[in-house]
């Protein structure tokens, strides 16, 4: 039995390769994600191990707010200089140095643009000399207050050289410094993990980075010889008390790496998500292939049955085939995954011009195991139905002409309706009712089950739709034959189209939600925002762009300006929850600039949107305690409620809160003009004011709204690219189905050629079949996607997505693309059909 299985497996190499490719791609994503994660994790481990190699023990003050790497940079609390003296008295401490290292030193490059970073921070540090892992490339460390040094990566990116006057943005607006030195790290590295670093003298670093004299962010301790770091850590912990965190260099390295690894984990989940989609689509493809193989082997299997093979043996033979295909796909997928992981790692390490020294690519055991489990399990699942069908072949079929009668679709339709209903119900529950933690699973599961249900219904739908679609091509005989062929095997057409449906439905769904959100945002902004000029910039990386607060004061004095207000942003903790807050110099001015009215807040008052106030139970007059990124908690009274959207953000704090924010400069600005003053008259003056804050520009309202909405287009773009993979797999399915059709209809093709159908007509016939199947799949996808997208949009109505926009042009593009895909998918099968030897084809069986 096994021999027979292997023989027939070999005879069907090409087909299995095609469908196996779907599994290969899925496995590639899974193992690629794991390889990438593993490599990056080890990279971070080694970076931090290096960075803290010279640190025996480090002391930091507990941060006011503990936040994870995903949410932003944690802001260390300032550590008074007096603590250093205290540390030095502890036994076993040889030496203690105060350090300042904080994100937010942004160098303006030689071309006038601010150096951006997509991940690694832009550190401003105090110069404490050249330590064991550093080496000077040029010059020396800063000695006077207008001197800086920078690491080689920053120097290379910015184009500055020793002796140049370099503008740097910090807590303070642009300041000029003389670059006196460039340093690098041992082993010829320009940076540690792509981090940009600028070193100031200690007092300057304290003023510009920390905003506090005589304080540090950490104290680096060297232990006496013969004393272990752990010993010193314990002694220091006892001496300093609970307000301080004392960690050995190793612990610090591990903690820092863990922070970044959390971010990598998130990245990993996205990759795995797409692997899931790819595999889901792959199941359709494999199911289809195995069904076809079983249909083609009907006589062979019947013969085996007639010779005494049991049903289980027949099932076993199909399953063995599936396991072999799955295992081969797993091996190939794993290899491709290692390649992809290494490639992505390389991309990651060079992203945004940073130069990360990647750890050698390794293959974690988890990648190998999951490759095999995923590859084999998916293939076997997909082969179950065809195997069962194979086992039901009666021995008598061996003696009959192979005829696959059109089995009725009733059962399938009932099952499909049932499954669709279950899926849609789960989806609806997830979207519209409060189901807590299970919500996301209800939505994902609901969507998947709905897809399966619709796939089951597809054969039924395919009859009328395919024949309707086909009519578009029926003006010529090849077109008509193609149409008839595509309607010939509704199950096969349906499953091929369904695979395409999944990818296109997801893309369309996301597009509907994003376009609706975009349009809602635009409408909302247009409705409430009366400011005509905005100061804002594009955010690249974790830190938002900021500008000099003096710009607002100056803007307010420009003739024609009625009101100008800057908005500051932070994440704070209130009642144990992390919330985003805004703050502004004067709420009344902000309200005027924004287009509403509000009172001026005192130092102990805050404003909150009415909807959030209701949700959180913050009635007027209640007090809330807010812990900002730094400093002490502050208690405010709820003094003003405003309709959601009437003012920016959901919580607005008074000016006094700003000094405790992680970023103490405004991130956005609103400027409203006097009635009758034209924007074009004032805009150039405001632009001139922000010239020294190159992270932002002054824009009119239209540009501002478009910029804000551009983010949605980016998400759509990303989704399109990533789901392109699912669509690619589906295209393989179309190729596969067509190749099989050509094979199965060899004799028909021979006959047609014998009675005079020429090659190009033959190719046209195959192409029409492919286009009809693809467009049918796309039509299903667009419809299902628009439905799901609309449901999600409706569910988000209360979250501000008030408009439902069906992206007709995009949907039309997807359909057109599907037609193109059909044409492309048809190329090889069509060529093959056209090249058939007429005589050989006629006598083929």
């Amino acid at each position: 039995m096994l021999r027979a299985t292997l023989k027939s497996l070999l005879a069907r190499k090409l087909r299995l390769i095609l469908s196996g490719l779907a599994v290969v791609l899925g496995v590639m994503f899974v193992s690629g994600a794991l390889v990438l994660t593993d490599t990056l994790n080890r990279t971070f481990d080694s970076i931090f191990a290096d960075a803290y190699a010279a640190t025996d023990v480090a002391v930091t003050a507990k941060p006011a707010l503990e936040i994870s790497e995903l949410e932003g940079e944690e802001v260390p609390a300032p550590l008074p200089a007096a603590t250093i003296d205290k540390i030095k008295t502890v036994s076993g401490v040889r030496d203690a140095t105060g350090r300042i290292d904080l994100d937010g030193a942004r160098v303006i490059a030689a071309d006038g643009k601010v150096l951006t970073s997509f991940g690694p921070p832009r550190m401003g540090v105090n110069w404490t000399g050249v330590d064991d892992i550093m080496e000077m490339r040029a010059g020396r460390g800063p000695e006077s207050d207008d001197e800086i040094a920078m690491n080689a990566a920053t120097a290379a990116l910015s184009g500055w050289q020793v002796g140049d006057r370099v503008p740097v943005l910090t807590r303070e607006p642009k300041k000029m410094f003389t670059l006196v030195g460039v340093w690098a790290y041992t082993g010829g590295r320009d940076s540690l993990g792509g981090v940009q670093e600028v070193a100031f003298t200690t007092p300057v670093a304290q003023a510009l980075m920390l905003g506090e004299a005589n304080a540090f962010t950490s104290v680096v301790v060297r232990a006496d010889d013969g004393v272990t770091p752990a010993q010193v850590r314990d002694d220091l912990t006892t001496a300093l008390g609970a307000d301080y965190q004392v960690r050995t260099g190793e612990e610090l390295a591990a903690d820092s790496a863990a922070g970044l690894q959390e971010g990598v984990g998130f990245f990993n989940q996205i990759l795995l998500g797409f692997a899931g989609v790819a595999l889901f689509v792959g199941i359709f493809l494999i199911l289809n292939t195995f069904s076809i193989i079983v249909a083609q082997r009907t006589r062979e299997l019947a013969l085996l049955r007639a010779m005494g093979a049991s049903r289980n043996q027949v099932i076993g033979s199909v399953m063995v085939e599936a396991v072999i295909v799955g295992a081969v796909a797993a091996v190939l997928g794993l290899a491709a995954g290692i390649g992809a992981g290494a490639g992505l790692g390389y991309l990651f390490s060079t992203m945004g011009g940073s130069s990360l020294t990647l750890a050698p690519v390794g293959v974690p055991l988890s990648a190998v195991i999951s490759a095999f489990v995923v590859g084999i399990v998916i293939t076997v699942i997909a082969a179950v139905l065809p195997a069962l069908r194979a086992s039901r072949i009666a021995p008598i079929a061996a003696m009959q002409e192979v005829a696959t009668p059109d089995r009725p679709l009733t059962k399938l339709t009932v099952a499909g309706s049932l499954v669709t209903t279950i899926g849609a119900t789960a989806l609806g529950l997830g979207l519209f009712s409060d189901t807590g933690d299970t919500t996301i699973w209800l939505i994902i599961g609901g969507a998947l089950v709905t897809f399966i249900g619709i796939a089951l219904l597809t054969p039924l739908i395919s009859r009328p739709v395919v024949s309707l679609l086909g009519r578009l091509f029926s003006w010529s005989l090849p077109g008509r034959l193609g149409r008839l062929n595509s309607g010939r095997n509704p199950r096969r057409t349906a499953i091929t189209a369904a695979a395409l449906m999944v990818g296109i439905a997801l893309v369309t769904g996301v597009t509907v939600v994003m376009d609706s959100a975009k349009s809602s945002l635009k409408a909302e902004v247009a409705r409430v925002l009366k400011a005509q000029i905005m100061i804002s910039g594009d955010q690249a990386g974790p830190r938002p762009p900021t500008y000099d607060p003096a710009v607002i004061d100056e803007a307010a004095t420009v003739p024609g300006v009625r009101a100008a207000a800057g908005v500051y942003h932070d994440m704070v903790q209130i009642d144990g929850e992390q919330r985003y807050v805004n703050a502004t110099g004067d709420l009344a001015t902000l309200a005027q600039a924004y287009g509403t009215t509000a009172p001026t807040l005192t130092e102990d008052q805050l404003a909150v949107s009415a909807e959030n106030a209701a949700a959180w139970g913050w009635q007027d007059g209640r007090t809330v305690t807010v812990q900002a990124s730094r400093g002490e908690p502050h208690t405010y009274t709820v003094a003003h409620l405003y309709p959601e959207g009437a003012l920016p953000g959901s919580i607005i704090l008074p000016a006094g809160a700003i000094k405790d924010f992680a970023i103490t400069q405004p991130t956005i600005g609103y400027i409203r003009l006097d009635d009758g003053v034209s924007v074009s008259a004032v805009l150039p003056q405001i632009k001139a004011l922000v010239a020294d804050s190159p992270e932002v520009t002054a824009v009119d309202q239209q540009t501002f709204v478009d910029d804000q909405a551009a983010g949605f287009d980016q998400i759509i773009m990303m989704i399109q690219i990533l789901l392109g993979l699912a669509i690619l797999i589906a295209v393989l399915g179309v190729v596969n189905t067509l190749a099989l059709s050509v094979l199965e209809r060899t004799r028909e093709l021979g006959l047609l050629r014998a009675v005079g159908l020429n090659r190009s007509q033959t190719m046209r016939m195959i192409t029409v079949e492919a286009v009809v199947i693809s467009v049918f799949g796309a039509l299903l996808g667009v419809t299902v996607g628009a439905g799901m997208g609309s449901a999600v949009t409706r569910a988000l109505e209360n979250d501000g997505i008030t408009e439902l926009v069906l992206p007709w042009p995009r949907m039309a593009t997807y359909l057109a693309l599907a037609a193109l895909v059909g044409v492309v998918a048809a190329i090889l099968p069509a060529l093959r059909a056209a090249r058939l030897n007429v005589l050989g084809a006629i006598s083929h069986d």
């Binding site: 010529s476 008839l484 010939r488 006959l751 047609l752 005079g756 159908l757 020429n758 005589l839």
Partner: protein, 255 residues
């Protein structure tokens, strides 16, 4: 004797054609210098033992296969040096086929199958001729049926109608009755004969059956890739006799 002439106008002609399959040990010479003419408006049967080259000869005559040496003419056109495009056109417009089995496209109705060569060419059938063919073939009430809903004999009649509808220079039929019982076979054969007698159609038919051959005007006998005999106005008996004689000549009975 490897040449056979008919006198009168010629629909198809083979001159000294050779066909060799394979190479080396496995080399088979299927045709060794066959020359034959097939008169216009005549019904010719080709007979001979299995493997004698009947199908090969027919395929070469019909432009389905190429010859290694010699020339083939169909209706005055030399086809032995035509490319695929021209051959396809030739088959479409000037040649009709009836195969032993699998003659029809399962997706098309009987009527559509009959019209297929015309549809491929983008031509309309001449209504009168259409009527004539449909009536002669006796399928007026089955035209909307799919091949799977027709009997084997009916399917072959549809195939014959398809071959006739374009009024080709010549129709080639390879064992058209090979899969049919004698009654259905007789129906198909009478139909073929009447299209020759009444409408001047030229038909070349390969067969193993002396009775089928007796419907023809002339029988050509092939053996081992060469024409060995021919018979005009055959009856089943004369055909059988000739076959027996050829059999003993080429393969003496061992006692």
């Amino acid at each position: 004797m490897t040449a056979t002439k008919t006198g009168g106008p010629v629909a198809a002609r083979a001159e000294e054609i050779w066909k060799v399959y394979g190479s080396g040990e496995a080399q088979v010479t299927a045709l060794r210098g066959v020359s034959a003419e097939f008169g216009r408006g005549r019904f010719t049967a080709i007979m001979g033992p299995s493997g004698s080259g009947k199908s090969t000869l027919m395929h070469c005559l019909a432009g389905l296969d190429t010859v290694d040496r010699g020339t083939v003419h169909v209706g005055g056109t030399e086809i032995s040096n035509l490319g695929d495009k021209a051959l396809t056109r030739l088959r479409r417009d000037r040649i009709g086929f009836v195969f032993q089995q699998f003659n029809l496209l399962p997706t098309l109705s009987a009527a559509e199958n009959i019209r297929l060569p015309l549809d491929i060419a983008g031509r309309k059938p001449d209504p009168q001729w259409w009527e004539t063919v449909i009536t002669t073939v006796g399928l007026s009430d089955r035209l909307a049926h799919r091949p799977s809903q027709l009997s084997g004999g009916q399917q072959q009649r549809v195939a014959c109608a398809r071959a006739l509808i374009g009024r080709p220079d010549v129709i080639f039929a390879d064992e058209p009755t090979g899969n049919l019982d004698s009654r259905s076979g007789a129906e198909v054969l009478s139909f073929l004969r009447s299209s020759v007698r009444e409408h001047g159609q030229t038909i070349v038919m390969v067969t193993h059956d002396p009775v089928a051959a007796s419907y023809a005007d002339r029988v050509v006998f092939l053996a081992d890739g060469a024409i060995v005999d021919e018979l005009a106005d055959p009856t089943a008996e004369t055909v059988l006799d000739t076959m027996k004689r050829l059999d003993t000549q080429t393969d003496p009975v061992m006692l």
